[in-house]
C-alpha cells in the first residue's frame, strides 16, 4: 500500500461515477478517505469544491479539488505514476481509449438512462435495441483493445474497463427489477465474460455496489417518490 497521500473522495456509494474514481485509486493502491455526500441536501463542502457543477465525485488531493469522473481518473493516472497505468502509453492507443470512454458517456449511458422515461413497450424496445447495438460496438472494441487478454486495458484494468465497468452493478439490478435483458450473452458473449472478470477484480470487488444493495435502494427511492406524489396530491386538494 502506498503511504497516506492525503486523498479524499467526496461522493455517494452507489454512484457509478464515484465508483470510477474508487476503482482508479484502488488500482494504484492509494489510501483515501471517503466523504459521503447527501445529494438531496448538498453540503457546503461540495458546493465549495465543485461550484460549477455541484456534483459528485470530487477528488481532493492535498487541498486541490478535481471534478468530473473521467478527468479525475486521468488525473489519478498522472499524479500517481507508480503502479499499473490506466491509460496506454502510446498516443494512438490513448486516443482510442478516450474515444470509447466518450462514446460510453455521450451515447451509451444516455440510452441506458432513457429507459426510465420509456413509458410503453415500443419505446422500451427501442431503447434496449440502442443499448444492445452499443454493446456490440463495445464488444468489437474489446476484441481490438484487449489483444487477447482479459481487459480492455490488456492484463490490467484500463480506462475503458473503468468507464464501462462502473455501470455493471446498476445494469444487473435494473435487469432483475424490471425483468429486462440488458446485456445479452448471446449477442455479446465476450463482453459478458469480461463483465464477470471485471466484477471480481480486486480493485472492483467491495467497491462496486452489490445487486442486493441497489435493489433495496431502488425500493427506497420508489417509496420516496410515491410518498412525494401522495403529499403533492394531498396538498392540491
Amino acid at each position: 500500500m502506498a503511504a497516506s497521500t492525503d486523498v479524499k473522495v467526496v461522493g455517494t456509494r452507489p454512484s457509478p461515477f464515484v465508483n470510477r474514481v474508487q476503482f482508479a485509486l484502488n488500482l494504484k493502491s492509494i489510501d483515501y478517505e471517503f466523504i459521503p455526500e447527501n445529494l438531496q441536501a448538498k453540503s457546503e463542502l461540495l458546493l465549495k469544491l465543485n461550484p460549477v457543477h455541484k456534483k459528485v465525485p470530487v477528488l481532493v488531493h492535498g487541498d486541490k479539488p478535481v471534478c468530473e469522473s473521467l478527468v479525475i481518473v486521468q488525473y489519478i493516472d498522472e499524479a500517481f505514476p507508480d503502479g499499473p497505468s490506466i491509460l496506454p502509453s502510446d498516443p494512438y492507443d490513448r486516443s482510442i481509449a478516450r474515444f470509447w470512454a466518450a462514446y460510453i458517456d455521450d451515447k451509451w449511458f444516455p440510452a441506458f438512462r432513457s429507459l426510465e422515461y420509456a413509458k410503453d413497450e415500443e419505446s422500451r424496445a427501442e431503447v434496449l435495441e440502442k443499448m444492445s447495438e452499443g454493446l456490440v460496438l463495445l464488444e468489437n472494441a474489446f476484441v481490438k483493445c484487449s489483444n487477447g487478454k482479459g481487459y480492455f486495458g490488456g492484463d490490467t484494468l484500463g480506462y475503458i474497463d473503468i468507464a464501462l465497468g462502473c455501470y455493471l452493478g446498476w445494469l444487473k439490478a435494473i435487469q432483475i427489477e424490471f425483468d429486462l435483458k440488458l446485456m445479452d450473452e448471446s449477442k455479446t458473449p465476450v463482453l459478458a465474460k469480461w463483465a464477470e472478470r471485471f466484477k471480481n477484480h480486486e480493485a472492483v470487488k467491495g467497491t462496486l455496489p452489490e445487486t442486493e444493495e441497489l435493489l433495496n435502494l431502488m425500493k427506497v427511492m420508489k417509496a420516496a417518490k410515491a410518498a412525494a406524489a401522495d403529499a403533492e396530491s394531498e396538498a392540491s386538494k
Binding site: V52, C67, Q74, P91, Y92
Partner: protein
C-alpha cells in the same frame, strides 16, 4: 478530379504489396513513380473502383484532415496543427453527401473532423487535439505539465463541450422564447468561463496559449452569426471574453485557422434553409 480515396497507405511498397494481384495497378504505380516522379498519385483500379492515395512522399508527417471550413470542431484541430507547424493535407467533406473515406474512418459518428496519421484515423475534436499535443509534444505544448493544471484544462474543455453548443444552436435555429432562453444560457456560460476559468489571462492557460483556448476560440468565429440571428451583442455582455478572443486572433495559428465570420453566417443561412427554419 474528384477525390475518392478508399485505402490509405503510407509508402510505395505497401501499394505494391496490396495490389500485387492486379498487374495493371502495379504497373501504373511503377510508371508513375519512375516517369513522373510525382510526389502524390491516384491510381484507379478498374474492377473494384478503388482509388489509392500514397501518402509517403506527400508530407513528412503523413497527416490528413477530413474537414469542413465552418465547423468549429474542425477549427480546433486546424489551430492545433498550426500551433505545432505540422504540414497536412485537407480533405474537404460535403456533409450532405459523406464520402466513403469519412464513413470508413469514422463509422460510429460519421462526422468531421477526422485526423488520419500514418494511416490511422482519430476522431472527436478534443481527442484529436490531445493526440496532436502528445505526438508533437516538443513544439508549443498545449497542455500544462502539472497534473492538477492538466486536470483543470480538461475540466474546462469538457465544460465547453457540454455547455456551449446546445444554447448556441438555439440562438440561430430557434425563435421567440426558445431563442431568448438560448441567448440567456449562452451568455451565462460565457460569463462563467470569463469569471472562473479565464483568470488574469491573457489566455485560459495563463501566460501560454493552450488546450482550453483551442477548445473555445473557434466559437468566436460564429459570434457574428449568433449576434445577427439573436440581435444582441456578445461583447457588451462579455467584454473580457471578447478581449481574450481578440488576443488569440493575433496568433497566426488562430487567424489562419478560423473561418471568416461571414462563412459561419452563410452556413447558418444554409442550415436554416436545409432544416426549413424561417
Amino acid at each position: 478530379m474528384a477525390l475518392m480515396p478508399h485505402i490509405l497507405v503510407h509508402n510505395f511498397w505497401d501499394v505494391l504489396t496490396i495490389t500485387i494481384e492486379n498487374l495493371t495497378l502495379v504497373l501504373s504505380v511503377h510508371i508513375f513513380g519512375l516517369n513522373f516522379g510525382i510526389r502524390r498519385f491516384w491510381v484507379i483500379e478498374k474492377f473494384t473502383k478503388t482509388v489509392i492515395i500514397c501518402g509517403e512522399e506527400m508530407t513528412s508527417e503523413n497527416v490528413f484532415l477530413l474537414n469542413t471550413c465552418p465547423s468549429m470542431f474542425c477549427m480546433r484541430v486546424r489551430v492545433a496543427l498550426a500551433e505545432k507547424e505540422i504540414k497536412y493535407e485537407t480533405i474537404d467533406e460535403d456533409l450532405t453527401n459523406k464520402s466513403k473515406l469519412l464513413l470508413e474512418t469514422n463509422p460510429i459518428h460519421q462526422q468531421v473532423p477526422v485526423l488520419i496519421h500514418n494511416g490511422k484515423p482519430i476522431s472527436e475534436s478534443l481527442i484529436i487535439v490531445q493526440y496532436i499535443d502528445e505526438v508533437w509534444h516538443h513544439k508549443n505544448p498545449l497542455m500544462p505539465s502539472d497534473p492538477h493544471k492538466k486536470a483543470q484544462a480538461r475540466f474546462w474543455a469538457d465544460f465547453i463541450d457540454k455547455k456551449v453548443f446546445g444554447p448556441a444552436r438555439k440562438i440561430w435555429s430557434a425563435k421567440g422564447e426558445e431563442q431568448e432562453a438560448g441567448k440567456k444560457e449562452f451568455i451565462e456560460i460565457l460569463k462563467i468561463l470569463e469569471g472562473e476559468a479565464l483568470g488574469d489571462g491573457p489566455y485560459f492557460g495563463g501566460e501560454t496559449f493552450g488546450y482550453v483556448d483551442v477548445a473555445l476560440i473557434p466559437v468566436y468565429s460564429w459570434f457574428y452569426a449568433f449576434e445577427t440571428c439573436g440581435n444582441f451583442s456578445i461583447e457588451a455582455e462579455c467584454p473580457k471574453l471578447v478581449g481574450w478572443a481578440k488576443n488569440c486572433m493575433k496568433r497566426e495559428s488562430v487567424s489562419k485557422s478560423l473561418a471568416d465570420p461571414m462563412i459561419a453566417y452563410e452556413t447558418v443561412l444554409f442550415l436554416k434553409k436545409l432544416f426549413g427554419i424561417e
